[in-house]
Amino acid sequence: MFPLSEGADQMSFLKSSFLLFLVLFSASESTAEEDKVEKLNEEFKEALLLRPLPDRKVLAHFHFQSSAPPTRTYGRHHYIFPKSIYQLVHKFQVREMELSFTQGRWNYERWGGFDPISNSNAKPPGVELWADFDVPQDQVDDSWKNLTHALSGLFCASINFLEHSTSYSAPQWSFRSFSGKLRYGMLPREAVCTENLTPWLKLLPCRDKAGLSSLLDRPSIYRGYYHSQRLHLKSDEFDTSKMSTGIVLEQTLTVVLQPNTFSGKISQPSWSLSSLFGRKVSGKCSLSNSSNVVTLYSIYHFPKRVIKGVENLQKKGSILYEFPVEDYDESEPFDLELRWKVPVVWSCEQTPLRASRFLLGSGNERGAIAISMKSTKSNNVERVCSDEKECWLKVGIFQVVPWYVKVYYHTLELFLDGEPQSTIHSIEKIRVSPSEDKLNIESVEAMENEAVVSVIHLIFLSGLSLRPNLANIGGKGPILSSALHPKWAIAQELRAHSSAGFLHIDEYPSDANQGFDIPSAVVHFADFQSNMSFDDNFSTKVPILSKLQEKTPVLSYTEVLLVPLTTPDFSMPYNVITITCTVFALYFGSLLNALRRRVGEEERLLRGKAKKTGPLTLMLSKLFAKLRGKPWEPPKTPSSSSSPKSSINYKLVAKVALVACIAAAWQYYFQ
């Protein structure tokens, strides 16, 4: 760490009368001129973007990009590009692929959802994989299955569960419009840990031995609030056109960390690289073409005029600093420290609507799934509908529902501020690929061929009626008269009734009582595209900045929904078999006995027995007589004693029945 006085950069802004802040950096900047690389060569670039978040946390975004020129001109040997990824692309003819492992949930409200970083790096929990293939249409599913197996081997994860038709789908137009050779799958319950990070790091030429990736100290990364490692590759190896660029592999790791400092008075904590990660950067990875640390402050709620005066700023009010790590080495490691002198409050840019999804109703039959979208106080909507009196937003929803949750599409309802709207009027396009029920399963093979995922593709126009206040809840008629301080009173809800299907005993997962996860819905705001704009000399130097300048569609994910399904007692089939068989056997046996019974002979035998009573019965009858206090009588002939004996029998039966009743009642009440 450098002394604070050296090379410190001081800035101060005066917002209104009460907010004042000062950013202080302690790091020396230097701009090493990079070697000019030839046009056609492998490249590896690394960058780290640091960004303080409004809720005292810090976002660290590692970005590694490797690229390989096309095989046709460059050949098959690579010295930087990972061999396994190259082989993967060629074996399965992948045109584009994205794989993300995420732990924790991205907090859209606090950490933002509109800027490119959160847009492409906020991922649903678990594993998300989509891939676009360059194979004939009928081979896409096979390629997908093989790819999932290869990836699960490569990343030590159970991605191979995505090969089941219950877990992937083929989105047509709403998710990312493609040729129909795209497959999309999600595993919401996949746990992500170091064993997934290590193979991910193996794809980097320096792994975590040198360069920015040496900051990846496992305990400090996994202590964070959000952790998402992503791998995105794009290849045009199979295009015949000459302008192909080869394969570009982009690996990002996004973590949200809580800096542990004891700055009680100041609202924002001060932090440094060594306090966040416990390590410093000892030089760049010797194979990287560029290696930078970038800090970015997006403070949108400051007046623009104040920021305009500062040099390294972009139009929308972000401050950006870039530090090349090239000139540092082990004797002089790079560290970056940020200190807040004055408390500052800001908020991140929000998505136009905040989507969340939940269950309604009760039980297995009368349930409903609802997606609610609430307006955020974002000024993005203002841009879209600033001059119109009534504003409509285009929102696309892509939802995969496994077949065991049956959604009744005729019950699809749309509510705007609690009032039902006509779905025909509001929904522009809907495409439902219904799941097929698997109740009549003939064989295992037939099961796999069925499409068992129901997919809702939905683009609807959500009415954003701009109203002066919240109390005035009406239709979409009310119109904003003055555009000065609009408040959005939008609570939009999309509801569809659902019920849980019956599963075959084999189809329950191993921990069935936990419930079933419905993957996150993807909400796509078609009217918006997010990007950042910087000065040109910046973006050419740092690859991550050119990435941020690309226009990306605004996406957000809802939460994973846990649907409890009634799980049977798995030993029940056997119990049923046993009890049914026992009943049958009893019936059968008694019937057979009745058939071969000789009533007359038995009676004769009984009589014969009664005549010569044994000594034991004599003694017993004497004992009974003594107990009763009556004189003992020698046994009479069977004909005379038949009537009292039967009465005793009745009494005995009554006693036994009474005891049984008491026992049953006891059992019933005390359990």
């Binding site: 050949g75 098959r76 040997h77 690579h78 010295y79 930087i80 990972p82 061999k83 396994s84 082989q87 993967l88 074996k91 290869a150 081997g153 490569l154 193996k202 030429p205 320096c206 792994r207 031995k209 040198a210 030089g283 010797s286 194979l287 056997y574 078999i577 046993t578 049914t580 068989c581 026992t582 049958f584 056997a585 009893l586 059968f588 046996g589 019937l591 057979l592 006995n593 009745a594 058939l595 071969r596 019974r597 000789r598 009533v599 007359g600 002979e601 004769r604 009589r607």
Partner: protein, 616 residues
Amino acid sequence: MDAATTPSPSATAEISGAAPTSASENRKTELEFDPETMRKTKPGLKRFALTLTVLLSFLLGLPFLLKSVEIYRSPLPFREIDVLSAAVESNPLHFPCKFRAVFVDKGGLSFTANELSISIESHMRKLAAKDSTSCGACSYNPTVSVALESGSNCFHSDNDFKWKCGSVNELNKYGNSGEYDDELFDDYLKSLLDDNGSLKNGGKVYTVIVVRRAKEENVIAVVGKYRHAWIVGRISEEQAAKKVAEVFVKAFVNGGKEEGSITGEFMPVGADGRVVLSFNLLNADPRDWTYDWDFQEIDDNILAPITEALKPLADIRVESQVLYHTPKSSFSYWDDKLDSYIFTTNDLPFFVNSNEWHLDTSVAAGGRSKILHFVVYVPSATECPLLLQLPNGEISTTNGFISPMWGSVVVWNPSACFKDSKMETHVRHKISPEDLRKLFEVFIGQLRQLFGLKSKGLFADASGTLRLLTSDRGFTEWELDVLSRQHTCFNLLQCATTLGSLSRLVQSLPRMIIKDEIGKQVKYSLEAAKLALSNVSSGVYDASAVSSRQARSFAEDAFYHPSMMSVSYYSFEHCFAVYSPFFLPVSLHVLLAVLREWKRYKLESRKYNAWKAKKM
């Protein structure tokens, strides 16, 4: 059940024996009648027939039940598998090989062609008796055809063998002009032998040409790249015959192996007949220097001919990668005398750092294919130059080692560490083409060793040395013959063992589901094995190697079929547990009923007989 429900209640009214009241009267009237031991009426068969019907209907229904709970099992040819295993395991495979020898002598020869032939054969038998166990050897009733050329005379021991006499005079030309070159002479002999039309029967004929010349002192024995060898020099006929037999047995049959070399059993070929040669360039510390290689050129020029040559043995693919930050895990020490860092053979087990060297990142090598790793280790500046010291104190010339079935490692010291000059870091250097060629020559030698062949071109022997010419394809033709023979033999053995264990497994688990696919694979495997065996007997090495590979691959596929691996086979205990709650009590009832009725019928009929006897 229907048998049980048909009898009407009136049937139960049948009473055997008379009414009790009449019995006392009868006692008075007929004193001789005892109701305990005799009866007047014939015992009825109704109940006995009924219970028997129920039992019989159960027994009749049993086959239907068993059929309905039957598990599908594809019929496997167990007998054929046993026949194959017996055929392969009982007597080791022997290939028919053809040998011939040519004796050229200006002077006269004291032996006839037939005598020489018999002499060579007896020598060969003696040599072969030492190692007759090796798999894939030639059959040891060799027929050696001999051609004699002495002066202008020409003798043949065999009519098939047409040797053009006087053609080797060319050799003298080479010898006289001083341009004698083994390679040239080899090619010349090749063309000569091809002209003689020896390609008729598969071309797998091994020839040794002995040229006796009194002028030369020393004896040169050279084994060529093709299927012939020659011995030139002053040598007696008896010695020559012995030498010829040695060349035949030790080189052409056994592939010039030494004691302790890798046997065919450990041939590094995957179960599916594939090998992936993975070449890795490891830069121990890229902060000191980073090296790259021009692998594309090496692949095209050096490796492609080798993969082509080994095609009958294995489907070989080549891939390459460059890795960084890969220190070795053993220690080395500084030696002042040698002015370098030394690691000894004792360190070799710890040299490969499996934590940091992530070599096995191949996605292409799926299934059961074998990956051989070839590693070029570029040491970091702190341990450079790094040399391997042999146990006898010498420094290894190749600076590398092999690990059987895994691959090999070669340490390459960059020129920078000798110069003591500070290199510019962060710049990618390329290994110079000469260095790269040397490295890959070492790799080819190591590959030969991994396949069980000699890496050196000299073969020391009790009676002098034997020079082996090397091919630019890495493997000479006769070596490939040896390899394919061994490979065929080993594959067939493996196939027979796998199929044998499959049949034992299937027979030991009678309730395991066997899919049709497995049956088909077993069938194909057997067919391929039979084809390989027939090819072996007709001496077609390449075809037998290919079909034996298929046989093994199919057998392994069948054995490792996913449905075989699954635990979800329907065990007999399971079946018993499901059906016993019904069948156990019911069968007890039915059996007991039949037994009782049968006993009773016997008893009652005895009573009736007693009464009848009394009445008579």
